[in-house]
Assembly symmetry: C2
Homo-oligomer: 302 residues x 2
Protein backbone atom coordinates (compact mmCIF):
# COMPACT_ATOMS: atom_id res chain seq x y z
CA UNK A 1 0.00 0.00 0.00
CA UNK A 2 1.37 3.44 -0.83
CA UNK A 3 1.77 6.26 1.66
CA UNK A 4 0.85 9.89 1.01
CA UNK A 5 2.93 12.72 2.49
CA UNK A 6 2.11 16.41 2.45
CA UNK A 7 4.67 18.93 3.66
CA UNK A 8 7.59 21.16 2.92
CA UNK A 9 10.42 20.84 0.44
CA UNK A 10 13.30 23.18 1.16
CA UNK A 11 16.78 24.28 0.28
CA UNK A 12 18.84 24.29 3.48
CA UNK A 13 22.15 25.72 4.56
CA UNK A 14 23.38 23.96 7.66
CA UNK A 15 26.30 24.42 10.04
CA UNK A 16 27.11 21.71 12.54
CA UNK A 17 30.16 21.13 14.75
CA UNK A 18 31.36 18.77 12.01
CA UNK A 19 31.18 21.14 9.06
CA UNK A 20 28.72 22.92 6.85
CA UNK A 21 26.62 22.35 3.78
CA UNK A 22 25.39 25.14 1.55
CA UNK A 23 22.11 24.98 -0.39
CA UNK A 24 21.39 21.29 0.05
CA UNK A 25 18.00 19.68 -0.29
CA UNK A 26 15.81 19.58 2.81
CA UNK A 27 12.22 19.81 3.89
CA UNK A 28 10.04 17.46 5.91
CA UNK A 29 8.25 15.94 2.91
CA UNK A 30 11.55 15.23 1.17
CA UNK A 31 13.09 13.40 4.10
CA UNK A 32 9.86 11.54 4.75
CA UNK A 33 9.39 10.50 1.13
CA UNK A 34 12.91 9.27 0.63
CA UNK A 35 12.86 7.25 3.85
CA UNK A 36 9.43 5.77 3.17
CA UNK A 37 10.43 4.86 -0.38
CA UNK A 38 12.60 2.03 0.99
CA UNK A 39 9.42 0.35 2.24
CA UNK A 40 6.55 1.23 -0.07
CA UNK A 41 5.49 3.49 -2.97
CA UNK A 42 5.15 7.11 -1.91
CA UNK A 43 2.89 9.93 -3.07
CA UNK A 44 4.21 13.39 -2.40
CA UNK A 45 2.40 16.72 -2.22
CA UNK A 46 4.48 19.88 -1.86
CA UNK A 47 5.38 23.16 -3.57
CA UNK A 48 8.76 24.18 -4.94
CA UNK A 49 9.96 27.30 -6.71
CA UNK A 50 11.32 27.66 -10.20
CA UNK A 51 14.82 27.56 -8.67
CA UNK A 52 14.38 23.95 -7.56
CA UNK A 53 16.63 21.40 -9.29
CA UNK A 54 14.58 19.14 -11.53
CA UNK A 55 17.15 16.40 -10.98
CA UNK A 56 16.02 16.04 -7.37
CA UNK A 57 12.44 15.34 -8.39
CA UNK A 58 13.74 12.94 -11.01
CA UNK A 59 15.82 11.14 -8.39
CA UNK A 60 12.79 10.84 -6.10
CA UNK A 61 10.70 9.53 -9.00
CA UNK A 62 13.31 6.89 -9.77
CA UNK A 63 13.01 5.70 -6.16
CA UNK A 64 9.29 5.12 -6.32
CA UNK A 65 8.09 8.52 -5.17
CA UNK A 66 5.17 9.81 -7.23
CA UNK A 67 5.94 13.54 -7.35
CA UNK A 68 2.73 14.27 -9.27
CA UNK A 69 1.59 16.35 -6.29
CA UNK A 70 4.71 18.51 -6.20
CA UNK A 71 3.70 21.82 -7.72
CA UNK A 72 6.41 23.99 -9.29
CA UNK A 73 5.48 27.64 -8.89
CA UNK A 74 7.01 30.91 -10.02
CA UNK A 75 9.21 32.11 -7.17
CA UNK A 76 11.78 30.64 -4.85
CA UNK A 77 11.77 27.42 -2.88
CA UNK A 78 11.52 27.62 0.91
CA UNK A 79 15.02 28.38 2.20
CA UNK A 80 16.17 27.68 5.72
CA UNK A 81 19.57 28.13 7.23
CA UNK A 82 20.52 27.03 10.69
CA UNK A 83 23.40 26.34 13.00
CA UNK A 84 23.65 23.50 15.50
CA UNK A 85 25.41 23.96 18.83
CA UNK A 86 28.05 21.64 20.27
CA UNK A 87 25.06 20.05 22.00
CA UNK A 88 23.33 19.19 18.75
CA UNK A 89 19.97 19.00 20.50
CA UNK A 90 20.05 22.80 20.25
CA UNK A 91 19.95 24.77 17.01
CA UNK A 92 19.48 28.37 15.94
CA UNK A 93 17.59 29.37 12.84
CA UNK A 94 19.78 31.92 11.05
CA UNK A 95 17.43 32.73 8.19
CA UNK A 96 14.09 31.62 6.85
CA UNK A 97 12.52 32.62 3.54
CA UNK A 98 9.20 30.88 2.92
CA UNK A 99 9.18 31.64 -0.81
CA UNK A 100 6.40 29.79 -2.62
CA UNK A 101 5.69 27.83 0.57
CA UNK A 102 3.97 30.95 1.97
CA UNK A 103 1.04 30.33 -0.38
CA UNK A 104 1.10 26.55 -0.22
CA UNK A 105 -2.45 25.21 -0.49
CA UNK A 106 -2.07 21.50 -0.96
CA UNK A 107 -4.10 20.17 -3.87
CA UNK A 108 -4.21 16.42 -4.19
CA UNK A 109 -4.12 15.00 -7.71
CA UNK A 110 -7.21 12.87 -8.38
CA UNK A 111 -5.00 9.79 -8.45
CA UNK A 112 -3.93 10.43 -4.83
CA UNK A 113 -7.44 10.61 -3.38
CA UNK A 114 -7.75 6.91 -2.66
CA UNK A 115 -4.77 7.13 -0.27
CA UNK A 116 -5.20 5.21 2.95
CA UNK A 117 -1.84 5.79 4.71
CA UNK A 118 -1.37 9.53 5.11
CA UNK A 119 1.28 11.64 6.81
CA UNK A 120 0.66 15.31 7.43
CA UNK A 121 4.12 16.78 7.98
CA UNK A 122 4.49 20.00 9.94
CA UNK A 123 2.44 22.72 8.22
CA UNK A 124 -0.44 25.00 9.29
CA UNK A 125 -3.09 22.74 10.88
CA UNK A 126 -5.76 24.33 8.68
CA UNK A 127 -3.86 23.09 5.64
CA UNK A 128 -3.44 19.68 7.24
CA UNK A 129 -7.22 19.59 7.73
CA UNK A 130 -7.75 20.70 4.14
CA UNK A 131 -5.74 17.68 3.00
CA UNK A 132 -7.94 15.32 4.99
CA UNK A 133 -11.01 17.01 3.46
CA UNK A 134 -9.76 15.85 0.05
CA UNK A 135 -9.49 12.22 1.14
CA UNK A 136 -12.76 10.25 1.07
CA UNK A 137 -11.42 7.31 3.07
CA UNK A 138 -8.18 7.96 4.92
CA UNK A 139 -7.19 4.91 6.91
CA UNK A 140 -4.23 5.62 9.11
CA UNK A 141 -3.44 9.33 9.48
CA UNK A 142 -0.12 10.36 11.01
CA UNK A 143 0.60 13.97 11.86
CA UNK A 144 3.43 16.24 13.00
CA UNK A 145 3.24 19.81 14.23
CA UNK A 146 5.49 22.40 15.89
CA UNK A 147 5.59 24.90 18.75
CA UNK A 148 4.45 27.74 16.51
CA UNK A 149 1.10 26.10 15.70
CA UNK A 150 0.60 24.87 19.25
CA UNK A 151 1.01 28.41 20.53
CA UNK A 152 -0.67 30.35 17.73
CA UNK A 153 -3.29 28.03 16.23
CA UNK A 154 -4.36 25.82 19.09
CA UNK A 155 -8.09 25.67 18.21
CA UNK A 156 -7.28 24.61 14.64
CA UNK A 157 -4.77 22.08 15.88
CA UNK A 158 -7.17 20.63 18.44
CA UNK A 159 -9.84 20.23 15.78
CA UNK A 160 -7.34 18.49 13.55
CA UNK A 161 -6.16 16.12 16.30
CA UNK A 162 -9.64 14.59 16.52
CA UNK A 163 -9.09 13.35 12.96
CA UNK A 164 -5.56 12.01 13.51
CA UNK A 165 -4.61 8.44 14.45
CA UNK A 166 -0.94 8.91 15.27
CA UNK A 167 0.65 12.12 16.47
CA UNK A 168 4.45 12.24 16.04
CA UNK A 169 6.02 15.12 17.97
CA UNK A 170 9.11 15.87 20.01
CA UNK A 171 9.23 16.12 23.78
CA UNK A 172 9.24 19.91 23.89
CA UNK A 173 6.16 20.03 21.67
CA UNK A 174 4.45 17.39 23.80
CA UNK A 175 5.04 19.52 26.89
CA UNK A 176 3.71 22.66 25.24
CA UNK A 177 0.67 20.93 23.79
CA UNK A 178 -0.28 19.19 27.04
CA UNK A 179 0.88 21.71 29.62
CA UNK A 180 2.53 18.79 31.41
CA UNK A 181 6.26 18.52 32.03
CA UNK A 182 6.21 14.77 32.79
CA UNK A 183 6.25 12.74 29.58
CA UNK A 184 3.74 10.13 30.78
CA UNK A 185 1.23 12.76 31.89
CA UNK A 186 1.82 14.73 28.70
CA UNK A 187 1.11 11.69 26.55
CA UNK A 188 -2.03 10.82 28.50
CA UNK A 189 -3.35 14.36 28.01
CA UNK A 190 -2.65 14.21 24.29
CA UNK A 191 -4.29 10.80 23.92
CA UNK A 192 -7.38 12.49 25.33
CA UNK A 193 -7.29 15.01 22.46
CA UNK A 194 -7.97 12.40 19.80
CA UNK A 195 -4.94 10.44 18.57
CA UNK A 196 -4.98 6.73 19.29
CA UNK A 197 -1.19 6.71 19.44
CA UNK A 198 1.30 9.35 20.53
CA UNK A 199 4.92 8.98 19.49
CA UNK A 200 7.28 11.28 21.32
CA UNK A 201 10.70 11.82 19.75
CA UNK A 202 13.50 12.43 22.25
CA UNK A 203 16.42 13.06 19.93
CA UNK A 204 19.51 11.14 20.96
CA UNK A 205 17.43 9.31 23.61
CA UNK A 206 15.10 7.70 21.12
CA UNK A 207 11.35 7.43 20.87
CA UNK A 208 8.57 6.52 23.27
CA UNK A 209 5.13 5.34 22.16
CA UNK A 210 1.97 5.71 24.21
CA UNK A 211 -1.37 4.10 23.45
CA UNK A 212 -4.12 2.24 25.26
CA UNK A 213 -1.98 -0.87 24.70
CA UNK A 214 0.75 0.48 26.95
CA UNK A 215 4.14 2.07 26.51
CA UNK A 216 7.05 1.16 24.25
CA UNK A 217 10.41 2.88 24.50
CA UNK A 218 13.34 2.44 22.15
CA UNK A 219 16.69 4.23 22.41
CA UNK A 220 18.28 5.97 19.49
CA UNK A 221 21.07 4.01 17.83
CA UNK A 222 24.33 4.98 19.55
CA UNK A 223 26.45 6.67 16.90
CA UNK A 224 29.99 7.93 17.24
CA UNK A 225 29.36 10.71 14.77
CA UNK A 226 26.12 12.55 14.43
CA UNK A 227 26.99 14.67 11.47
CA UNK A 228 23.78 16.61 10.86
CA UNK A 229 20.54 16.03 12.80
CA UNK A 230 18.42 17.92 10.23
CA UNK A 231 15.48 15.83 9.07
CA UNK A 232 15.96 13.04 11.62
CA UNK A 233 12.38 13.32 12.87
CA UNK A 234 10.86 13.37 9.39
CA UNK A 235 13.06 10.48 8.33
CA UNK A 236 11.90 8.58 11.40
CA UNK A 237 8.28 9.25 10.41
CA UNK A 238 8.98 8.11 6.85
CA UNK A 239 10.48 4.81 7.93
CA UNK A 240 7.71 4.31 10.47
CA UNK A 241 4.78 5.04 8.16
CA UNK A 242 6.48 3.31 5.24
CA UNK A 243 6.88 0.10 7.22
CA UNK A 244 3.27 0.28 8.47
CA UNK A 245 2.06 0.66 4.89
CA UNK A 246 4.31 -2.15 3.67
CA UNK A 247 3.29 -4.59 6.38
CA UNK A 248 -0.33 -3.55 6.82
CA UNK A 249 0.25 -4.65 10.42
CA UNK A 250 -1.24 -2.11 12.81
CA UNK A 251 -1.02 -4.43 15.83
CA UNK A 252 1.11 -3.49 18.81
CA UNK A 253 3.84 -5.72 17.42
CA UNK A 254 3.54 -4.15 13.98
CA UNK A 255 3.73 -0.66 15.48
CA UNK A 256 6.82 -1.56 17.49
CA UNK A 257 8.58 -2.94 14.46
CA UNK A 258 7.65 0.16 12.50
CA UNK A 259 9.05 2.39 15.25
CA UNK A 260 12.34 0.51 15.06
CA UNK A 261 12.44 0.83 11.27
CA UNK A 262 11.82 4.54 11.70
CA UNK A 263 14.65 4.70 14.22
CA UNK A 264 16.91 2.79 11.83
CA UNK A 265 16.27 5.29 9.04
CA UNK A 266 16.82 8.25 11.37
CA UNK A 267 20.10 6.74 12.55
CA UNK A 268 21.34 6.64 8.98
CA UNK A 269 20.24 10.09 7.88
CA UNK A 270 22.20 11.90 10.61
CA UNK A 271 25.42 10.25 9.42
CA UNK A 272 25.81 12.81 6.64
CA UNK A 273 24.48 16.21 5.54
CA UNK A 274 21.06 16.50 3.97
CA UNK A 275 19.69 13.11 2.88
CA UNK A 276 22.92 11.97 1.27
CA UNK A 277 23.25 8.88 3.43
CA UNK A 278 19.79 7.71 2.36
CA UNK A 279 20.77 7.99 -1.29
CA UNK A 280 23.45 5.35 -0.90
CA UNK A 281 21.49 3.15 1.48
CA UNK A 282 20.62 -0.47 0.69
CA UNK A 283 17.80 -2.66 2.00
CA UNK A 284 20.49 -4.98 3.39
CA UNK A 285 22.00 -2.18 5.47
CA UNK A 286 18.54 -1.37 6.82
CA UNK A 287 17.92 -4.97 7.84
CA UNK A 288 21.35 -5.23 9.42
CA UNK A 289 20.80 -2.15 11.55
CA UNK A 290 17.33 -3.40 12.49
CA UNK A 291 18.99 -6.52 13.90
CA UNK A 292 21.50 -4.31 15.73
CA UNK A 293 18.57 -2.48 17.33
CA UNK A 294 17.17 -5.79 18.55
CA UNK A 295 20.53 -6.67 20.03
CA UNK A 296 20.92 -3.20 21.54
CA UNK A 297 17.65 -3.43 23.44
CA UNK A 298 17.01 -7.10 24.11
CA UNK A 299 16.98 -7.89 27.82
CA UNK A 300 16.38 -11.60 27.85
CA UNK A 301 17.20 -12.90 24.42
CA UNK A 302 20.92 -12.21 24.08
Amino acid sequence: MSVLVVGSVAIDSVQTPHGEAESVIGGAATYFALAASFFTPVRMVAAVGSDFPAAVLEDLRSRGVDVGGVETRRGTTLRWSGRYHEDMNVRDTLALDLGVFADFHPQLPASFRDSSYVFLANIDPRLQAAVLDQLPAPGLVGCDTMNHWIAESRPDLERLLKRVGILVINDEEARLLSGERNVVRAARQILGMGPRIVLIKRGEYGVIQFSSEGIFAVPAFPLEDVFDPTGAGDTFAGGFMGQLARSGDGSERGLRRAIVYGSVMASFVVEDFSYRRLQSLTPEAIEQRYRQFVSLTNIEGV
Copy 2:
Protein backbone atom coordinates in the same frame (compact mmCIF):
# COMPACT_ATOMS: atom_id res chain seq x y z
CA MET B 1 27.34 -14.18 47.59
CA SER B 2 27.33 -10.99 49.65
CA VAL B 3 28.20 -7.56 48.27
CA LEU B 4 30.36 -5.00 50.06
CA VAL B 5 29.61 -1.29 49.78
CA VAL B 6 31.76 1.58 51.00
CA GLY B 7 30.42 5.12 50.90
CA SER B 8 28.50 7.90 52.55
CA VAL B 9 25.60 7.85 54.96
CA ALA B 10 23.87 11.19 55.28
CA ILE B 11 21.00 13.15 56.70
CA ASP B 12 19.34 15.02 53.85
CA SER B 13 16.89 17.87 53.53
CA VAL B 14 15.31 17.87 50.11
CA GLN B 15 12.95 20.17 48.25
CA THR B 16 11.36 18.99 45.03
CA PRO B 17 8.47 20.40 42.96
CA HIS B 18 6.29 17.88 44.82
CA GLY B 19 7.12 18.84 48.38
CA GLU B 20 9.93 18.71 50.87
CA ALA B 21 11.43 16.38 53.43
CA GLU B 22 13.46 17.58 56.38
CA SER B 23 16.30 15.53 57.94
CA VAL B 24 15.60 12.25 56.21
CA ILE B 25 18.12 9.46 55.75
CA GLY B 26 20.31 9.59 52.67
CA GLY B 27 23.80 8.82 51.47
CA ALA B 28 25.06 6.64 48.65
CA ALA B 29 25.93 3.65 50.82
CA THR B 30 22.50 3.68 52.45
CA TYR B 31 20.60 3.67 49.17
CA PHE B 32 22.94 1.08 47.72
CA ALA B 33 22.71 -1.23 50.74
CA LEU B 34 18.95 -1.12 51.03
CA ALA B 35 18.48 -1.79 47.30
CA ALA B 36 21.05 -4.60 47.20
CA SER B 37 19.52 -6.20 50.30
CA PHE B 38 16.55 -7.36 48.20
CA PHE B 39 18.95 -9.57 46.25
CA THR B 40 21.77 -10.69 48.50
CA PRO B 41 23.39 -10.12 51.92
CA VAL B 42 25.15 -6.76 52.13
CA ARG B 43 28.21 -5.59 54.01
CA MET B 44 28.35 -1.88 54.66
CA VAL B 45 31.29 0.37 55.50
CA ALA B 46 30.58 4.01 56.40
CA ALA B 47 30.85 6.58 59.16
CA VAL B 48 28.02 8.28 61.04
CA GLY B 49 27.96 10.82 63.85
CA SER B 50 26.60 10.45 67.33
CA ASP B 51 23.41 12.18 66.09
CA PHE B 52 22.57 9.30 63.78
CA PRO B 53 19.40 7.37 64.70
CA ALA B 54 20.28 3.87 65.89
CA ALA B 55 16.91 2.68 64.61
CA VAL B 56 18.09 3.18 61.03
CA LEU B 57 21.05 0.87 61.51
CA GLU B 58 18.76 -1.59 63.25
CA ASP B 59 16.35 -1.47 60.30
CA LEU B 60 19.20 -2.11 57.86
CA ARG B 61 20.43 -5.01 60.00
CA SER B 62 16.97 -6.55 60.00
CA ARG B 63 17.06 -6.46 56.19
CA GLY B 64 20.26 -8.42 55.88
CA VAL B 65 22.74 -5.55 55.87
CA ASP B 66 25.77 -6.24 58.03
CA VAL B 67 26.45 -2.79 59.49
CA GLY B 68 29.55 -4.01 61.30
CA GLY B 69 31.59 -1.63 59.15
CA VAL B 70 29.54 1.45 60.02
CA GLU B 71 31.61 3.39 62.50
CA THR B 72 29.80 5.74 64.88
CA ARG B 73 32.07 8.68 65.73
CA ARG B 74 31.82 11.68 67.98
CA GLY B 75 30.43 14.51 65.86
CA THR B 76 27.66 15.02 63.36
CA THR B 77 26.62 12.89 60.41
CA LEU B 78 27.17 14.26 56.89
CA ARG B 79 24.30 16.66 56.19
CA TRP B 80 23.22 17.71 52.72
CA SER B 81 20.36 19.88 51.69
CA GLY B 82 19.32 20.47 48.13
CA ARG B 83 16.55 21.75 45.92
CA TYR B 84 15.44 20.24 42.62
CA HIS B 85 14.21 22.43 39.78
CA GLU B 86 10.98 21.92 37.84
CA ASP B 87 13.26 20.03 35.47
CA MET B 88 14.32 17.51 38.09
CA ASN B 89 17.47 16.67 36.16
CA VAL B 90 18.82 19.89 37.69
CA ARG B 91 19.42 20.46 41.38
CA ASP B 92 21.15 23.02 43.59
CA THR B 93 23.06 22.13 46.73
CA LEU B 94 21.87 24.54 49.40
CA ALA B 95 24.13 23.38 52.20
CA LEU B 96 26.73 20.70 52.87
CA ASP B 97 28.31 19.84 56.21
CA LEU B 98 30.68 16.90 55.97
CA GLY B 99 30.73 16.26 59.73
CA VAL B 100 32.47 13.01 60.60
CA PHE B 101 32.63 12.13 56.91
CA ALA B 102 35.47 14.65 56.55
CA ASP B 103 37.77 12.21 58.35
CA PHE B 104 36.33 9.02 56.91
CA HIS B 105 39.08 6.45 56.47
CA PRO B 106 37.29 3.23 55.65
CA GLN B 107 38.46 0.34 57.79
CA LEU B 108 37.14 -3.06 56.81
CA PRO B 109 36.28 -5.43 59.63
CA ALA B 110 38.26 -8.66 59.34
CA SER B 111 35.06 -10.52 58.51
CA PHE B 112 34.58 -8.34 55.39
CA ARG B 113 37.98 -9.02 53.86
CA ASP B 114 36.91 -12.05 51.90
CA SER B 115 34.42 -9.94 49.93
CA SER B 116 34.33 -10.66 46.23
CA TYR B 117 31.58 -8.30 45.00
CA VAL B 118 32.58 -4.77 45.93
CA PHE B 119 31.04 -1.38 45.23
CA LEU B 120 33.04 1.77 45.86
CA ALA B 121 30.43 4.52 46.08
CA ASN B 122 31.44 8.10 45.36
CA ILE B 123 34.25 9.11 47.75
CA ASP B 124 37.82 10.34 47.32
CA PRO B 125 39.53 7.95 44.88
CA ARG B 126 42.45 7.57 47.31
CA LEU B 127 40.02 6.17 49.88
CA GLN B 128 38.47 3.94 47.24
CA ALA B 129 41.94 2.60 46.49
CA ALA B 130 42.61 2.14 50.21
CA VAL B 131 39.53 -0.10 50.39
CA LEU B 132 40.82 -2.28 47.58
CA ASP B 133 44.19 -2.49 49.38
CA GLN B 134 42.36 -4.19 52.25
CA LEU B 135 40.80 -6.85 50.03
CA PRO B 136 43.08 -9.79 49.20
CA ALA B 137 40.86 -11.15 46.41
CA PRO B 138 38.27 -8.73 45.12
CA GLY B 139 36.33 -10.33 42.28
CA LEU B 140 34.03 -7.83 40.65
CA VAL B 141 34.72 -4.23 41.62
CA GLY B 142 32.14 -1.56 40.76
CA CYS B 143 32.89 2.10 41.24
CA ASP B 144 31.20 5.51 41.12
CA THR B 145 32.80 8.94 41.16
CA MET B 146 31.82 12.58 40.64
CA ASN B 147 32.86 15.74 38.83
CA HIS B 148 34.83 16.99 41.80
CA TRP B 149 37.26 14.05 41.77
CA ILE B 150 37.48 14.00 37.99
CA ALA B 151 38.53 17.66 38.02
CA GLU B 152 40.62 17.75 41.21
CA SER B 153 42.07 14.24 41.63
CA ARG B 154 42.43 12.91 38.12
CA PRO B 155 45.76 11.09 38.64
CA ASP B 156 44.38 9.25 41.69
CA LEU B 157 41.18 8.45 39.85
CA GLU B 158 43.04 7.17 36.80
CA ARG B 159 45.18 4.90 38.98
CA LEU B 160 42.05 3.57 40.63
CA LEU B 161 40.25 2.92 37.34
CA LYS B 162 42.91 0.38 36.37
CA ARG B 163 41.69 -1.70 39.34
CA VAL B 164 37.97 -1.36 38.60
CA GLY B 165 35.81 -3.75 36.58
CA ILE B 166 32.65 -1.68 36.21
CA LEU B 167 32.47 2.10 36.28
CA VAL B 168 28.99 3.47 36.98
CA ILE B 169 28.74 7.20 36.25
CA ASN B 170 26.30 9.70 34.80
CA ASP B 171 26.54 11.24 31.35
CA GLU B 172 27.96 14.55 32.55
CA GLU B 173 30.71 12.74 34.45
CA ALA B 174 31.44 10.57 31.44
CA ARG B 175 31.91 13.67 29.31
CA LEU B 176 34.20 15.32 31.83
CA LEU B 177 36.26 12.19 32.40
CA SER B 178 36.71 11.43 28.70
CA GLY B 179 36.75 14.91 27.20
CA GLU B 180 34.26 13.61 24.63
CA ARG B 181 30.76 15.02 24.24
CA ASN B 182 29.43 12.02 22.24
CA VAL B 183 28.43 9.18 24.57
CA VAL B 184 29.85 6.40 22.39
CA ARG B 185 33.22 8.10 22.06
CA ALA B 186 33.20 8.93 25.77
CA ALA B 187 32.57 5.32 26.69
CA ARG B 188 35.28 4.07 24.36
CA GLN B 189 37.79 6.45 25.94
CA ILE B 190 36.84 5.32 29.43
CA LEU B 191 37.05 1.63 28.51
CA GLY B 192 40.63 2.41 27.55
CA MET B 193 41.32 3.62 31.10
CA GLY B 194 40.75 0.23 32.67
CA PRO B 195 37.14 -0.75 33.35
CA ARG B 196 35.84 -3.72 31.41
CA ILE B 197 32.33 -2.27 31.53
CA VAL B 198 31.11 1.32 31.57
CA LEU B 199 27.55 2.01 32.67
CA ILE B 200 26.36 5.51 31.91
CA LYS B 201 23.30 6.72 33.79
CA ARG B 202 21.13 9.14 31.84
CA GLY B 203 18.48 10.01 34.43
CA GLU B 204 14.97 9.86 33.01
CA TYR B 205 16.40 8.40 29.78
CA GLY B 206 17.77 5.29 31.40
CA VAL B 207 21.12 3.56 31.28
CA ILE B 208 23.52 2.54 28.54
CA GLN B 209 26.17 -0.15 28.95
CA PHE B 210 29.36 -0.32 26.92
CA SER B 211 31.79 -3.23 26.87
CA SER B 212 33.77 -5.24 24.38
CA GLU B 213 30.59 -7.32 23.97
CA GLY B 214 28.72 -4.37 22.51
CA ILE B 215 26.16 -1.85 23.68
CA PHE B 216 22.98 -2.32 25.69
CA ALA B 217 20.53 0.51 26.28
CA VAL B 218 17.50 0.43 28.53
CA PRO B 219 15.10 3.32 29.11
CA ALA B 220 14.08 4.45 32.55
CA PHE B 221 10.66 3.23 33.63
CA PRO B 222 8.14 5.89 32.57
CA LEU B 223 6.62 7.25 35.78
CA GLU B 224 3.82 9.79 36.13
CA ASP B 225 5.29 11.12 39.35
CA VAL B 226 8.97 11.37 40.07
CA PHE B 227 8.76 12.52 43.62
CA ASP B 228 12.40 12.77 44.64
CA PRO B 229 15.32 11.72 42.42
CA THR B 230 17.81 11.68 45.31
CA GLY B 231 19.64 8.37 45.50
CA ALA B 232 18.33 7.01 42.20
CA GLY B 233 21.83 6.33 40.87
CA ASP B 234 23.01 4.61 44.05
CA THR B 235 19.82 2.58 44.22
CA PHE B 236 20.40 1.56 40.60
CA ALA B 237 23.91 0.44 41.52
CA GLY B 238 22.60 -1.50 44.53
CA GLY B 239 20.04 -3.41 42.48
CA PHE B 240 22.60 -4.01 39.74
CA MET B 241 25.42 -5.29 41.97
CA GLY B 242 22.98 -7.13 44.23
CA GLN B 243 21.54 -9.07 41.31
CA LEU B 244 25.04 -9.84 39.95
CA ALA B 245 26.07 -11.19 43.37
CA ARG B 246 22.84 -13.19 43.71
CA SER B 247 23.04 -14.75 40.25
CA GLY B 248 26.81 -15.06 39.94
CA ASP B 249 26.12 -14.58 36.23
CA GLY B 250 28.61 -12.14 34.74
CA SER B 251 27.76 -13.04 31.14
CA GLU B 252 26.33 -10.41 28.81
CA ARG B 253 22.87 -11.76 29.54
CA GLY B 254 23.51 -11.70 33.28
CA LEU B 255 24.75 -8.13 33.07
CA ARG B 256 21.71 -7.03 31.09
CA ARG B 257 19.34 -8.59 33.58
CA ALA B 258 21.22 -6.94 36.43
CA ILE B 259 20.96 -3.56 34.70
CA VAL B 260 17.21 -4.01 34.45
CA TYR B 261 16.96 -4.98 38.13
CA GLY B 262 18.96 -1.87 38.96
CA SER B 263 16.58 0.20 36.82
CA VAL B 264 13.61 -1.41 38.57
CA MET B 265 14.95 -0.44 41.99
CA ALA B 266 15.72 3.12 40.86
CA SER B 267 12.20 3.45 39.44
CA PHE B 268 10.78 2.61 42.86
CA VAL B 269 13.01 4.80 44.99
CA VAL B 270 12.06 8.02 43.17
CA GLU B 271 8.39 7.43 43.94
CA ASP B 272 8.79 8.85 47.46
CA PHE B 273 11.23 10.88 49.52
CA SER B 274 14.40 9.31 50.89
CA TYR B 275 14.31 5.51 50.67
CA ARG B 276 10.77 5.19 52.01
CA ARG B 277 9.46 3.39 48.95
CA LEU B 278 12.13 0.71 49.33
CA GLN B 279 11.08 0.07 52.92
CA SER B 280 7.61 -1.06 51.83
CA LEU B 281 8.79 -2.88 48.71
CA THR B 282 8.18 -6.60 48.16
CA PRO B 283 10.05 -9.11 46.00
CA GLU B 284 6.79 -9.63 44.09
CA ALA B 285 6.59 -5.93 43.19
CA ILE B 286 10.20 -6.09 41.97
CA GLU B 287 9.47 -9.08 39.75
CA GLN B 288 6.32 -7.47 38.41
CA ARG B 289 8.14 -4.30 37.40
CA TYR B 290 10.94 -6.37 35.88
CA ARG B 291 8.33 -7.95 33.60
CA GLN B 292 6.97 -4.49 32.81
CA PHE B 293 10.48 -3.49 31.75
CA VAL B 294 10.61 -6.44 29.38
CA SER B 295 7.27 -5.43 27.92
CA LEU B 296 8.33 -1.77 27.72
CA THR B 297 11.39 -2.57 25.63
CA ASN B 298 10.62 -5.74 23.72
CA ILE B 299 10.62 -5.18 19.96
CA GLU B 300 9.77 -8.58 18.64
CA GLY B 301 8.27 -10.57 21.47
CA VAL B 302 5.07 -8.66 22.27
